[in-house]
């Protein structure tokens, strides 16, 4: 029997089923809702059949793992070879406290570091700046100069452990400090591996931790990518991030489309510097959220890989298959965590982490159950890491490659997400690109609308959030909370004051002048920033020079 004949038979039989078995059953057992849809408004059918895959061309659309278009995964053996990197985002208090947390996590089986910085660091302020009041060491670790970075990475071998740094506005300065510590440890620069998030575009419309206006920000991002391409071959200079877009309220489709568009914009910006696409594209990396709709998330990861591969091949004419690889880090969704009945968050995180693994991620962070309330305690973060280890070693999910491929539903959803993301990309192209879309508030409005809609659905119980708008009874189980000692701020201020007294201030003055000169002249700033951190200029001082030249970004408010 031919495939075509089989399909016609199936279609005919489905129609029969819809006229006989189905209505009889529905008559006595009505469905829970009149319509079902994913978070991205994609209607979910009652049943998916071979009909939904009739246009699928296996070799063209799915192919084999490690081969274009990489739908089934980047590597030929995926997790049968090496498991994903278990990378827990962490940082709080002083550099010394976080250094101890890093060592604890490595002892517990974590396989890569990921640094969370406090808000003054993220915004490029020293701890004694008026806006830093009450914020030092609270939401991450305070790193004000190379001195702190030396303590933070004490006894961590930078040639063996890779480190991800969630830093954007001052990414160049923190990367410079990391490189400087590597130099001190005597490790050749070509052996230092890790990632700087360094994705400013999404900051302007999603995470909103911006220092400088869009143009100089994009210039600095490009400086880092160019510098890493030439000098730090194992460093991922940018992690093009959908995570924050999603957390700000976007749905899966918007996360997918806007992230890929940011990626396109960076590629264009680097090409303008005269680099060849295959020289830098293999080191571009991505960062996505894994939200609560299991199948939509799996489809999103698959669609993202396929679409990026096509964009790199068709739009940018990449030749090296690695340029077409979308290597991704995934974090389970912080905004799905609830402050009510916090232990339920362990279950949420498990489902989300499973989606990321089935979706073929390279690296994963699992949130801790207490994170709607505070930074995670040691106990909570251990459960989160154990969740990954249970998926890895007990669930069987990593034992075959791309296990949901061929599911009528997953393939239909993967196609649908790719197609709709492509529509968005064409719309943004027509608008004149990402910077124009940011200026117009396009992304901001799209995200604000989705976020509001999600909330209204929750308020009206169209969306059930267990323990929040349903199943709310039951005893509150008290959990212990991590609190940061306010003394951290005093100590950090004292440390910076001591540094300013003890360093060679003449050298600092000179190097800051040199930076000022370079910044006015459009040269790549990485070398002089490395010089400045090595002379122990503080983060606030270095950012201060650039603030003077470029001014600060003024938020475009869209509600």
């Amino acid at each position: 029997m031919s495939d075509k004949k089989k399909l016609t038979d199936t279609q005919r039989e489905k129609e029969r089923w819809e006229k006989t078995t189905l209505p009889k059953w529905i008559h006595n057992h009505p469905e829970r809702r009149s319509n079902f849809h994913t978070t991205s408004e994609i209607p979910i059918k009652r049943l998916y059949t071979p009909e939904d895959m009739q246009n699928l061309d296996y070799l063209k659309d799915l192919s084999f793992p490690g081969e274009f278009p990489f739908t089934r995964g980047l590597h030929a053996t995926m997790y049968r070879g090496r498991l994903w990197t278990m990378r827990m985002f962490s940082g709080y208090g002083t550099a010394d406290q976080t250094n101890q947390r890093f060592k604890y996590l490595l002892d517990e089986g974590e396989t890569g570091l990921s640094i969370a910085f406090d808000y003054p660091t993220i915004m490029g302020y020293d701890p004694d700046h008026p806006l830093a009041t009450g914020e030092v060491g609270i939401c991450g670790v305070a790193v004000s100069s190379l001195k702190d970075m030396e303590v933070l990475l004490d006894q961590i071998p930078l040639d063996k452990v890779t480190t991800s740094m969630t830093i954007n506005g001052p990414a160049a300065m923190l990367l410079a400090m990391y490189v400087a510590v590597g130099d001190k440890q005597g490790i050749p620069r070509e052996r230092i591996g890790g990632t700087t998030q360094n994705d400013m575009l999404k900051e302007f419309f999603a995470q909103k931790l911006c220092i400088f206006p869009p143009k100089p920000s994009l210039k600095l991002v490009t400086d880092i990518i160019e510098y890493c391409t030439r000098h730090l071959p194992r460093w991922n200079p940018v992690s093009i991030s959908g995570y924050h877009i999603r957390e700000a309220g976007a749905n899966a489709l918007q996360e997918l489309a806007f992230t890929l568009y940011d990626g396109i914009t960076y590629v264009e910006s680097i090409l303008e510097r005269g680099l060849k696409v295959d020289d830098f594209a293999p080191r571009l990396s991505f960062f996505f959220a894994s939200h609560n709709n299991l199948f939509e998330e799996v489809a999103k990861f698959r669609a993202a890989r396929r679409l990026w591969a096509k964009i790199m091949k068709e739009r940018f004419h990449a030749k090296n298959p690695r340029s077409m690889w979308m290597r991704m880090h995934v974090q389970t969704s912080g905004c799905t965590l609830t402050a009510k009945q916090p232990l339920n968050n362990i279950t949420r995180t498990t489902i989300e982490a499973l989606a990321a693994v089935i979706g073929g991620t390279q690296s994963l962070h699992t949130n801790s159950f207490d994170e709607a309330l505070c930074l995670p305690t040691e106990e909570a973060v251990r459960v989160a890491l154990r969740t990954q280890q249970i998926i890895a070693h007990e669930s069987g999910a990593p034992d075959t490659i791309d296990p949901l491929a061929g599911s009528y539903y997953i393939e239909a959803l993967t196609d649908e997400l790719e197609e709709r993301a492509m529509d968005y990309i064409q719309r943004i192209d027509a608008m004149g690109g990402a910077l124009v879309a940011i200026e117009k508030g396009f992304f901001q409005k799209e995200i604000a609308d989705s976020s509001y809609k999600y909330q209204i659905e929750t308020d009206r119980k169209k969306r059930i959030v267990v323990g929040v708008n349903e199943y709310t009874t039951g005893e509150e189980i008290p959990i212990s909370i991590l609190r940061i000692d306010p003394k951290v701020e005093e100590e950090q201020v004292a440390r910076v004051e001591k540094l300013r007294r003890e360093r060679d201030n003449r050298k600092v003055e000179e190097v800051l002048k040199k930076l000022h000169y370079a910044a006015e002249r459009d040269t790549n700033l990485m070398p002089v920033i490395i010089e400045a951190v090595k002379d122990y200029a503080t983060l606030g001082e270095i950012c201060g020079v650039l603030r003077k030249i470029h001014g600060e970004y003024k938020e475009l408010i869209v509600i």
């Binding site: 808000y119 609270i138 995470q207 909103k208 505070c374 909330q455 929040v468 509600i559």
Partner: protein
């Protein structure tokens, strides 16, 4: 009871954090409920918040913070609001504020603190019920 004019609300985000999802949702909900809402964006200093409240002649201030700096910033905001003579203005807050801190925050004169997961209707109702009458 009919009140004179619409309730004017300032939604303000002190602190360095940029988690504005909640603040924007609250701003939009209050606006959709018929109030005049002013949202001034991220990273407002206590001075800016008190000054905007005065200039915009608001009845209500809603503070949103998720950075953990509320203990350092809320006392300063409340002090400045009072200094400007805005003693009738009702202040409420939301964000990530640990339970143990709530009594201390209420002592400052903050009427209510709404944690994560609060339905928007609860906040809208609270503002309607507690906004001071215009004289």
């Amino acid at each position: 009871m009919e009140r004179k004019g619409k309730i004017r609300v300032l939604i303000a985000k002190p602190g360095l954090d940029s988690h504005d999802r909640g603040a924007k949702i609250v701003a939009r909900s209050l606006r959709d409920a018929g109030m005049e809402v002013i949202y001034t964006g991220l990273r407002q200093t206590p001075e800016q918040i008190a000054e905007t409240a005065l200039q915009e002649d608001v009845d209500v201030i809603g503070l949103s913070i998720l950075s953990g700096a509320h203990k350092a910033l809320f006392p300063r905001i409340m002090e400045l609001v009072k200094k400007k003579g805005l003693t009738d203005v009702m202040v409420f807050a939301g964000g990530i504020i640990p339970k143990e801190d709530i009594p201390e925050m209420k002592k400052l004169g903050i009427s209510q603190i709404f944690g994560p997961g609060t339905p928007t209707e609860t906040i809208v109702r609270f503002v309607f019920d507690n906004a001071p009458e215009r004289t």
